[in-house]
């Protein structure tokens, strides 16, 4: 297991500097997003609207700190963009705005929108016989939304083989609804399901490298077991850290842990 400590530190620095952000939700998914951009997705950071790119839609938009840190790492965003996070002079905010953020494919925030949009993107690409693939990253809490299951149903029945949903199964949903067998739910909707540890580089590599995206195959759901707030001892779990801004002392402690 290899944690992305630098990305986590950058996320915390952005949140601390601006006084806005969801650290645990970002830490939950930053390893997944980094793996996708590092090993799976086809893109051109200097031409984010490249016609042959894969589409990555962050459906749980409040985890955008993870997306921004990764887009910065791979050259979509500048140092200044990160510095200006959540300020009037910047382009990055508490949820991504596709009209101004290079690499953001959807303006998410209201949960239950990004994934069904990804279903439409996958269908649109197939209609045009294009080889681009669509990936959507969902929260398990987001899976409370009815549109997730409406569109999961549609995607399986349309056999959108060019679509992959990644579910950040960090246990948020089960706090309210303990009946939470996420793999069984996606299987019941007709999806090809894979289960991984969403913080394990080895498991991500093993799973994503063997996915096939044949036209008219079943859509794929990668259920990623994750830990909310993963990487820093006191941000892990469910509680006060969901939307908390670190104090100076907490920031020092966080930095020290990530530097270790």
């Amino acid at each position: 297991m290899t944690l992305n400590k630098n990305l986590r530190l950058k996320i915390a620095q952005m949140v601390k500097a601006s006084g806005e952000g969801h650290i645990p939700s970002s830490y939950s998914i930053v390893d997944l997003i980094d793996h996708l951009y590092g090993h799976v997705l086809r893109y051109d950071a200097k031409n984010p609207r490249w016609a042959d790119r894969d589409y990555f839609i962050l459906s749980k938009g409040h985890g955008c700190g993870g997306l921004y840190a990764v887009l910065h790492k791979y050259g979509f965003l500048s140092d200044q963009d990160i510095t200006d996070y959540s300020t009037p002079r910047g382009i990055l905010g508490g949820h991504p705005d596709m009209t101004i953020v290079p690499g953001a494919e959807a303006s998410t925030g209201s949960l239950g929108h990004g994934f069904p949009t990804a279903v439409g993107t996958a269908l649109g690409l197939r209609i045009q016989s294009r080889d681009n693939r669509t990936f959507a990253l969902l929260g398990d809490g987001e899976c409370h939304e009815g549109t997730i299951w409406e569109s999961a149903n549609v995607a399986a029945n349309l056999r959108l083989g060019n679509l992959c949903a990644i579910v950040d199964w960090n246990g948020s949903a089960a706090q309210l609804m303990p009946h939470d067998d996420m793999p069984a739910k996606w299987r019941a909707f007709g999806w090809e399901v894979h289960e991984i540890d969403g913080h394990s580089a080895e498991q991500m590599q093993a799973t994503f490298s063997q996915l096939t995206f044949a036209r008219d195959a079943l859509p794929k759901a990668v259920i990623a077991r994750t830990v909310k707030g993963k990487g820093v001892s006191f941000t892990e779990g469910h509680g006060k850290w969901h939307h908390r801004i670190p104090t100076d002392e907490e920031m020092s402690a966080l930095t020290k842990e990530l530097a270790a």
Binding site: M98, P116, A122, I127
Partner: protein, 308 residues
């Protein structure tokens, strides 16, 4: 006169083969009449099912890939139920959509209030990039759809079940322009959709009582032809709106704004105040809320008497 829904299907069949970007998605209605389009445009017709918010979400995805989506189903479900999808996925994201509804107002009179929709026009109008077209005859839909569907905006077409029956010349239909259907000098009747028929009948009744009514018909409500309305009211000083819309935001509001600064104007509105409970056919529900030749005539007469 051909039904608007049939014209919708025919227009898709006319436009689709020549524009490979056009994709039609429906919420399990009009499936049969769209089969000629589906056969002519393989892979570009989808009966998605009973999941209107998802259909609108998906349309945003289609548009992201360069396609031009047309989404069609019943007005309350595709506008009120899916409004957040329209607002965020198309408004916030600056994407383009063509929504074509049936069942606006109380066209589904006998199915009850669950199938009524009074706020659709207002909801879409709230979006800066929203366009609202209310075709009341087949030629209006055909011409206005073809003029607008590639404009990159959020286009809403509300198709009434019953055409108004007036045969307009194709050249007289211009996007964003109202039509002076009848000239008059004493009162302006401003009307949308099927109610044009009642307004013209009311104008006849008013003429028999010595009141000259001017009838203005608006097939496009956003953008609104304020100049036509203002010029008419500057002459008549009175107007009545007849609109199958919520009384709280619709044609009356537009007309009031258009006549700001015109002195001595009196106005009245015939619209939908609240759920139109009960059942009956469309005409019976219209009559219940004063949308009849007699109701319009009485409202206009009250205005003219007040002014006198």
């Amino acid at each position: 006169m051909k039904k608007l829904r049939e014209e919708f299907a025919d227009t898709m069949l006319e436009v689709g083969p020549g524009d490979p970007r056009l994709v039609v998605m429906v919420g399990d209605i009009s499936h049969g009449i769209l089969q000629p389009y589906a056969r002519a445009c393989p892979g570009r017709y989808y009966n998605i099912g009973i999941c209107e918010p998802t259909i609108v979400n998906m349309a945003a995805g289609l548009n992201k890939t360069g396609l031009i989506p047309v989404v069609h189903t019943i007005a309350p479900f595709i506008t009120e139920r899916a409004y957040e999808q329209i607002k965020l996925d198309f408004g916030y994201q600056m994407l383009s959509l063509n929504l074509v509804s049936v069942g606006g107002a109380f066209d589904y009179a006998q199915l009850g209030c669950s199938h009524h929709c009074y706020t659709d026009v207002s909801l879409i109008s709230h979006l800066k990039r929203g366009v609202v077209v209310l075709p009341g005859s087949p030629v209006e839909f055909n011409k206005l759809f073809k003029e607008t569907y590639t404009n990159g905006l959020i286009n809403y077409f509300r198709l009434p079940e019953k055409p108004h029956g007036v045969e307009f010349a194709r050249d007289d239909i211009r996007f964003g322009s109202g039509i002076r259907v009848r000239e008059g000098r004493d009162v302006t009747l401003a009307v949308i959709g099927t109610q044009l028929a009642n307004a013209l009948a009311a104008a006849d009744q008013l003429a028999a009582r010595g009141v000259s009514a001017e009838v203005l018909y608006f097939h496009t409500i956003k953008p609104f032809d304020a100049d036509l309305l203002r010029a008419s009211v500057a002459k008549t000083r009175r107007f009545v709106t007849i609109e199958e819309l919520s009384a709280h935001d619709g044609l009356y509001n537009l007309c009031l704004r258009a006549t700001l600064g015109v002195n001595g104007v009196s106005a009245a509105q015939i619209a939908i105040e609240d759920f139109v409970h009960g059942y009956g056919n469309y005409e019976e529900l219209c009559a219940r809320i004063g949308m009849s030749p007699e109701g319009i005539c009485q409202t206009a007469l009250q205005l003219t008497r007040k002014a006198a």
